[in-house]
């Protein structure tokens, strides 16, 4: 029977299933960070267990660390303790940590691919919901809670139920000002934030093949925002070109054999999916969120929707959203004044994203009333920014280039949008207070964030 890529990877990782029990599922790789791992290590210590496969796990610092130049001295006592706990735990259990000072420190989902740790056909988990990012390489990757982090540490396995599969086909070609971010935001707006709950998505179609690896990562990254357990894309020549010679990727004969295996992962023709959704990207326009969850999104040239015109189940949330974001239905969202602009996160903090921002900011100044943070996803990205002199463009435009980390995407550190301030952001969630207490977030692509920062209001075009 023809199989899709999800079924192929899934079946290869089913260790056993006893009658009346969930599937014992093998996890090949795990990424750790400081916020969701300490309690998992405690569980191992409490039970006197070892880490079963320490060489299949890597760790870094990203979520709660400062992004200032002096970040290695963490002022916040709790955040410092988290970092120290990760240092102690990785040392005690023999796990590689990419700490401050390492050329590979960065956001877990940025450094996994950069290191060649993320490989096609593998299963990969992390205590972070945006682990779906790694699906861009044809890995089956998903977020887990801290208990499951402990399960993988101790056994290399977790318990799973077989998911349903969804094919999201993207056809056509992207306009220059439209990106993978707009495509995933469109999908979420179409099916809703619970629309893919219980599914793993395969993204297919000529528009997906045409995307760079960075674009594919952005697409897979936000799969969780429509409730999907994971999202992935079949590996192709672009995938192999990206991974070849990366520090942790297979070398020599191993590489050649691996590529052969990876090519066989592609979905068979005539395979089945439980659901299929098609999106024509020719018609796609730059997207923006207006509310308090990622499904509340429209094209920038649309007017803000009336709650009364929505399905009954969506009205209360829309009214709550308008009360919070201080916007009025029926008027255009374009032209809404912004106070902050944020470029970064595991969604859009890679070099390609920052090149787009630099291209737009070059020779321009951001609006006088706007504060702009540019936070690279990793030390590798930061190095490229310096190599390509993008830092000068950012600084001359009036933006502030910070050190790598999650920063203002979730505002765990001191990078916060002030109460009541409105931020346009390349990140992935616009939940209430996500970027700081009482902050207002509008999600958009790097292109739109850059044009809006210059204009001082929401727009996809330079004034």
């Amino acid at each position: 029977m023809p199989k899709n890529i999800i079924e192929k990877i899934w079946q290869k990782h089913v260790v056993a299933q006893e009658p009346g029990h969930p599937i014992i599922f093998a996890i090949d790789k795990m990424l750790l960070h400081e916020v969701t791992s300490a309690q998992a290590f405690d569980e191992l210590k409490k039970r006197g267990l070892k880490v079963r496969y320490p060489d299949r796990i890597i760790a870094t610092l990203d979520h709660s660390i400062p992004t200032s130049k002096t970040r290695s001295i963490i002022q916040d006592e709790l955040a410092r303790k988290q970092v120290e706990a990760l240092r102690d735990n990785t040392k005690k259990f023999g796990i590689k940590l990419y700490d401050f000072g390492s050329q590979f420190q960065g956001i877990v989902h940025v450094i996994g691919p950069e290191l060649g740790f993320t490989l096609p056909g593998s299963t990969l988990v992390c205590g972070d919901s945006h682990t779906s990012t790694h699906g861009a390489f044809g890995a089956l990757a998903f977020g887990v809670g801290t208990s499951e982090v402990a399960h993988v540490l101790a056994t290399g396995c977790i318990l799973q139920e077989q998911p349903k599969t969804m094919n999201v086909e993207l056809h056509g070609s992207f306009d220059p000002e439209v990106s993978a971010k707009d495509a995933i935001m469109k999908l979420i707006a179409l099916i809703g934030i619970g629309g893919a709950q219980g599914y793993i998505i395969e993204y297919t179609g000529d528009a997906v093949s045409a995307l760079s690896m960075e674009g594919r990562m952005t697409l897979c990254n936000m799969s969780i925002e429509c409730g999907a357990r994971a999202g992935l894309i079949k590996p192709d020549q672009k995938t192999f070109d990206y991974l070849k010679d990366r520090p942790l990727a297979p070398k020599g004969m191993d590489w050649d054999n691996a590529v052969k295996d990876w090519l066989a992962l592609a979905s068979d023709s005539g395979c089945h999916y439980d659901k299929t959704i098609r999106i024509n990207v020719n018609e796609l326009k730059p997207m923006i969120t207006w509310g308090i969850n990622p499904e509340q999104a429209i094209a920038i040239d649309e007017t803000l929707p009336y709650p009364i015109e929505m399905p009954e189940t969506h009205r209360a949330m829309a009214e709550q959203a308008y009360a919070y974001t201080k916007l009025t239905p029926g008027i255009p969202i374009k032209g809404t004044k912004i106070d902050w602009a944020f470029v970064g996160s595991c969604t859009n903090g890679r070099i390609e994203d920052l090149r787009i921002v630099a291209q737009i900011l070059k020779g321009q100044k951001i609006a006088a009333h706007v504060m702009m943070y540019i936070v690279p996803g990793s030390e590798q990205v930061l190095q490229k920014i310096h190599d390509e002199d993008l830092d000068k463009i950012f600084t001359e435009a009036g933006a502030e280039l910070r050190m790598p980390g999650c920063s203002m995407c979730l505002a765990m550190n001191e990078d916060k949008v002030p109460p009541g301030a409105r931020c346009i952001s390349t990140s992935n969630r616009n939940f209430i207070g996500r970027q700081g207490p009482l902050s207002i977030t509008h999600l958009a692509s790097p292109h739109t964030v850059a044009t809006s920062a210059i204009a001082g209001f929401i727009t996809e075009r330079l004034p």
């Binding site: 208990s147 318990l159 189940t313």
Partner: protein, 190 residues
């Protein structure tokens, strides 16, 4: 994990869909390295913004059941959301549906998630809004009973049920199957 069999409690109505884990516990409270101390920050943003928010209401401070709508627990994978709910005192959530990761996290901590159809949820929310709604949950029988005698059956995974009734958890089970895992070793075979 604590075991669970029966509970009778007032129910807190939270008539919202897509309650996300950032709402349940904002990221700023996650900078701790233990599993305790999260209950005080449950729904903190909503509590600060709105003094009428149900979790500020004195009548509900001893309630152990929460009723909500679809896609409860969506967003971030933070297990802290489950810890915060349990530590505040919530032991059961009744909703139309739950997000995948939240569902898994709840199961590992003894938080009972009960899925009921929309019409039943709507009825329960309407009743709870009118006057105090007391619900009795019986896990062995898989029923919820209202004070007026109405009984509703809920489906529950048999493995999860055994775990909850006995306090046995996933890691106990996984460790018991380690010899099996050892013989397979998918990773090396690839």
């Amino acid at each position: 994990m604590k075991s669970f069999t029966h509970l009778t409690s007032a129910a807190i109505p939270l008539p919202m869909k897509d309650v996300d884990t950032d709402m349940i516990i904002p990221a700023q409270y996650l900078t701790q390295i233990n599993r305790e101390g999260y209950g005080a920050f449950l729904f903190n943003r909503l509590k600060e913004q709105n003094l009428d928010f149900i979790f500020n209401h004195p009548d509900y401070q001893n309630a152990h059941i929460l009723i909500s709508q679809s896609n409860f627990g969506c967003g971030s994978s933070r297990e802290h959301a489950v810890w915060a709910l349990l530590q505040w005192g919530i032991q059961i959530i009744i909703a139309e549906s739950f997000s995948d990761i939240f569902f898994n996290n709840a199961a590992k901590n003894g938080l009972l998630l009960i899925q009921l159809k929309k019409s039943t949820i709507d009825m329960l929310l309407a009743q709870a809004k009118k006057s105090e709604l007391i619900i009795s949950v019986d896990l062995p029988m898989q029923t919820i009973t209202l004070m007026n005698g109405e009984i509703y059956h809920f489906d529950y995974d048999p493995f999860r049920k055994t775990c909850l009734l006995s306090g046995y958890n996933d890691l106990d089970y996984l460790l018991s199957t380690l010899p099996k895992i050892e013989t397979i070793e998918i990773y090396e075979a690839r």
